[in-house]
Symmetry: C2
Subunit: 285 residues, 2 copies
DNA sequence: GCATGACGTAAGCTCAACTTTCGTTCTGCG
DNA sequence: CGCAGAACGAAAGTTGAGCTTACGTCATGC
């Protein structure tokens, strides 16, 4: 490809539009420029090629033979380009939005409100996928992940992180358990155990000395806590409703950190659907 | 064609070049810009489309799936455009250069030097066509005409006229005739008679009172003048060699005008071959 | 370990491409 | 006919896309 001896593409585009519409003024309208811009461009192209492409007869224009032949090629060329771009845009727009979430927040906060998102952004298909570990977003094909990060996190290379809300981590249990000696209270063991234990240890409680009950799902764990089966660590935002309703109370454990709910996205170009979802996420907390 | 929602063509071009060459730096070289310009353009395109097109892995780049698909379309599109332009350029370049000339100057000045033009501009085919009348250049398909205009001419609408040389019109004959009573000298009648007569009349000579001999070709007429068959009107530049060699002398006719040899070209775009010929013409006088 | 040649980023410049403005010409209509 | 409407034409003025420049970083090869 000899790019160097192609005329300026905008001149070619102006001529193509002129050929398609048969008038400078109409071409200008199609290109969203004034008629003067089109005339100048076409004259410039003619000068560069050394060929008259357009016969100006009064207030009407007609292509010369050379003009017709060029217009043919340009039509095909620009057509292929436009088709390629349109196709790419279509495919990208239609691709489902893949969201990786912590099970916790997804179940309590996002899923119940998804209908609202669909109402606001019809046509965007969302696939929520619980993904416990910190997966490589790009490699796994996720557009966005909802995560919980301990305050003080730094944005790693290649990722953009937007804080959704900051909330304290609480030790909580059903009211009937709250009066017991803390060491007597059984602790519920949900997913993310290692980190939870670390937090307890930091707060001065030996997790290994506690009685523990394991649960696989955050929903189950919460439910168990409400029913007085044991205490658990949870963010304030998750158990707020239960606290306000008196179904859960806060245990006086000192030294538990604040955590941030964040949206994690791969850095770089972002299609509108992703941006829309990220923006919507920020509104629901 | 929805021009309005097509990304900037230069961004697309930059990406196409990147795809073809597999490197920003190489693409830059092909486009005759710096690598920075290419990176910026590709990033801009990615941002506009909301799609990652190029995977940057250290100092090497590879297209993503989306990138490959777009590159395919762009390759076809730009290919068609480049082919169309190249084809037009070829056809125009190869088209013979059609020159309309006055027989006079063509035979004495241009034809003898045409070999020099071919040497300097190989590959340009020249068709010299004697055309006595002032034809419509554009309509007849002539690229250029060589004409003689009386001084004081003005450039008509739609034509560009370049003066090649200004030269006096002379009445000339063989030496042996010069001593005769001017009214005794027979006048040779070449082409372009009407204008010649008009000049004689203006100079105070009644052309109808003269003895006239008709010749069809300027070559023949010159030859006849040299052999003493009669006098003729000729520009100085045409008979200069004969004057210097003493084969012809100037008759003392007053009031003959100066004339300009000019190159006449249709206004507007001009292919290089025409420009080259016009430029060369100016050098041979 | 140093030269080379990729790519990345940011700041600033420049000119191509555009708008604006005013003219002209052609057509259709009351 | 005279006037409005809609083309194209030309030229001067404006602006931002698309560069260059300048400086980093990182990988490769000698």
């Amino acid at each position: 490809m000899r790019w160097r001896d192609l005329p300026s593409l905008s001149l070619l585009r102006a001529f193509d539009a002129t050929a398609r519409h048969g008038s400078f003024a109409e071409a200008g309208r199609a290109l969203n420029v004034t008629h003067a811009a089109v005339t100048q461009a076409v004259r410039g192209l003619e000068a560069e090629l050394g060929v008259t492409l357009v016969q100006r007869a009064g207030r009407t224009v007609a292509l010369t033979e050379a003009g017709k032949r060029l217009a043919q090629s340009l039509g095909e060329g620009f057509g292929a380009i436009a088709a390629g771009v349109a196709d790419l845009r279509q495919t990208e727009a239609r691709r489902v939005l893949r969201v990786a979430t912590t099970t916790f927040i997804a179940e309590t906060h996002v899923l119940p409100r998804l209908a609202d998102f669909w109402a606001k952004h019809p046509g965007i298909e969302v696939a929520m996928t619980p993904s416990p570990a910190s997966v490589d977003l790009g490699r796994e094909g996720f557009d966005l992940a909802i995560r919980v990060l301990e305050e003080g996190w730094v944005e790693p290379e290649g990722l953009e992180i937007r804080r959704l809300i900051r909330t304290p981590l609480l030790a909580t249990c059903a009211p009937q358990l709250a009066d017991l000696d803390p060491m007597e209270i059984p602790w519920l063991d949900g997913p993310g155990t290692a980190w939870d234990r670390e937090q307890l240890r930091k707060a001065g409680i030996d997790p290994d000395a506690l009685r523990k009950v394991q649960f696989g799902s955050p929903h189950l764990e919460m439910s168990a806590a409400r029913q007085g089966l044991g205490a658990m660590l949870a963010t304030e935002i998750i158990c707020r409703a239960d606290l306000e309703a008196g179904r859960l109370v806060v245990l006086p454990v000192e030294g538990l950190p604040f955590v941030d709910y964040v949206a994690v996205m791969p850095q770089g170009p972002r299609r509108p659907a992703v941006e829309a979802f990220a923006g919507w996420l920020a509104t629901i907390f």
